[in-house]
Amino acid sequence: MNGMIEIRFHGRGGQGAVTAARLLAEAAFAEGKYSQALPFFGAERRGAPVLAFTRIDSRPIRIRTQIYEPDYVVVLDPSLLEVVNVASGIKRDGLIVLNSKKNAQFSNAKSAFVDATSIAKEMLGVPITNTAMLGAFAKATKLVSLDSLINVIKGRFFGKLADKNIAAIKAAYEQTKVIT
């Protein structure tokens, strides 16, 4: 791994952006890397736009600022594209992973998309897209393996809930399309 990788999650309160950032940090940590999951809580309302950040590095991570120039962006809710500039500050050759039925074009970044809302509704019964979007992230970036994500889910959830989330991750992993 070459230098620190910074990931910004955009979600709405209740969709699990903070948990997604932590699960990703745990998957990277399990693969022997250093990681940091830093949530940015807003007014703690359901539905309000929220941010969460993950840093991954081969060296200990000291910096604690919010992430302004991410390598990757993950968008958990399609409607955020209309209200938030999700591509803000993204590095050249950065990648935006979208929960969307169709692709969106960005002038300054590559993109990948998957219909995570439908997957979450089908597999979990609720439109909580965080785990599905981690599957999409793994597929689009290869930064963590699918197996690491599944192991982290097994450590975090139990029984049927773990199975459902693993199914969501796998489905999203298979269905994600990367546009270059």
């Binding site: 932590r22 809580f41 910096i63 919010q66 302004y68």
Partner: protein, 394 residues
């Protein structure tokens, strides 16, 4: 074993490893996870402790007074308004020399209401007679909490372990969790020398009439000053056993620096990154991090900053009508010194505002300018302030 944990989780794990006997606390954001975890540990039998539920922080700390007085290792946690509600009892705890340990997840104060991070809460009670340690990362939260019990018990003073709300309390990162047997070795069973015991009744916290009160206050002052040695000694002992030592301050690339940044808490990590960048460009910039704010390491700071041309103090608090608290203490430390660096104060990160790399560079640049010209244009500045909103600019 290394685990990915938040600052709150690190504090709870440390209290468990310390085998606390009594926990009394009232939940408040962003500290709540600490007491939730401890309640779980007690409920599932992982921790043999009494968890005393109370209706307020005032009562929580009052319960802690009682349990510490009967010799139980005692822990509490709070933040912000909760610490303010405890303030009356804070002074009682130190006056009665009760070795209580508290975790304070730093959060700003109302009004306006804010649940986010700054250090105004613990800075506001700097005069309460407690030792105050500030943490840079979650490893330090765990290490300092464990050390706090030994410092408290061996100096008979309460200790507050302060760490930035959200930026540490809710951020997950790798933390080395020591073995229980190792912590047991470091923290042997504790015996309070002045037990409150119904068999041998004594009065604690009695009236201090004018003939006596001043002596008691003097003895408290001496005890807190003397705790400097204890903090160093415990930090070294911890280092020998666990490989991570702690001190009153930490100097980072500051020995030959012309410009030194001074701060406390989680900001230190981001500043270290900036320092490395500046060093890469040949600039002689360094950082000194204050771990112990009380007792104030005045001599140590004068010794480690005295050679610099300019010192920039970055802090997440201020005393309205004066300056930042760390800045005023530092200025006091240099009084009667033959030489003092130029001192600049930067108020930043209030109410959860992110202190970005850009802001750290702005402060560094101003200090470099002062070092070059020998002149400070403006002593106190606010980083990230939107000047149009406060009428400074049209």
């Amino acid at each position: 074993m290394k685990q990915l944990v938040t600052g709150d989780e690190a504090a709870a794990i440390a209290a468990k490893l310390a085998r606390v006997k009594v926990i009394s606390a009232y939940p408040i954001t962003p500290q709540t996870i600490i007491v939730e975890r401890l309640a779980e540990f007690v409920a599932n039998g992982e921790l043999d402790a009494e968890y005393i539920k109370v209706e307020s922080e005032h009562s929580a700390l009052s319960a802690c007074l009682g349990s510490a007085a009967v010799g139980a290792r005692t822990f509490t946690a709070t933040s912000s308004q909760g610490l303010m509600l405890m303030s009356e009892i804070l002074f009682v705890a130190s006056g009665m020399r009760l070795p209580i340990v508290m975790a304070n997840a730093n959060r700003s104060l109302s009004a306006p209401l804010s649940i986010w991070c700054d250090q105004q809460d613990s800075v506001a009670v700097r005069d309460c007679g407690w030792i105050q340690l500030y943490c840079e990362n979650n490893q330090e939260v765990l290490d300092s909490t464990i050390q706090a019990f030994r410092i408290a018990e061996e100096s008979l003073l309460p200790v507050m372990v302060c760490f930035d709300g959200y930026i540490l309390s809710h951020t997950a990162e790798p933390v080395e969790i020591p073995e229980q047997a190792e912590v047991d070795k470091f923290l042997p069973t504790y015996k309070y020398p002045y037990l409150l015991d119904p068999e041998k009744p004594i009065t604690m916290g009695a009236v201090g009439v004018p003939e006596y009160y001043e002596e008691f206050r003097y003895m408290l002052q001496e005890a807190v000053l003397k705790s400097k040695e204890k903090i160093i000694e415990v930090g070294q002992a911890f280092g020998r056993q666990f490989g991570r030592k702690s001190d009153l301050i930490e100097c980072y690339r500051s020995d030959d620096a012309d410009v030194i940044l001074l701060t406390m808490g989680s900001l230190s990590g981001s500043i270290k990154e900036m320092i490395d960048e500046y060093r890469g460009h040949g600039e002689r910039v360094g950082l000194v991090k204050v771990r112990a704010f009380r007792p104030f390491p005045a001599k140590e700071l004068v010794d480690s900053l005295g050679h610099a041309k300019a010192v920039a103090v970055l802090e997440k608090d201020f005393s309205p009508g004066s300056t930042g608290a760390l800045f005023s203490d530092l200025s006091g430390a240099f009084v009667n010194s033959r030489e003092s660096p130029l001192l600049l104060n930067f108020i930043c990160g209030l109410g959860g505002r992110d202190v970005s790399s850009l802001q750290i560079r702005e402060a560094t640049k101003a200090a470099m300018e002062a070092a070059k010209t020998g002149e400070v244009k403006k002593t106190v500045r606010w980083l990230g302030l939107r000047e149009t909103m406060v009428g400074l600019k049209p």
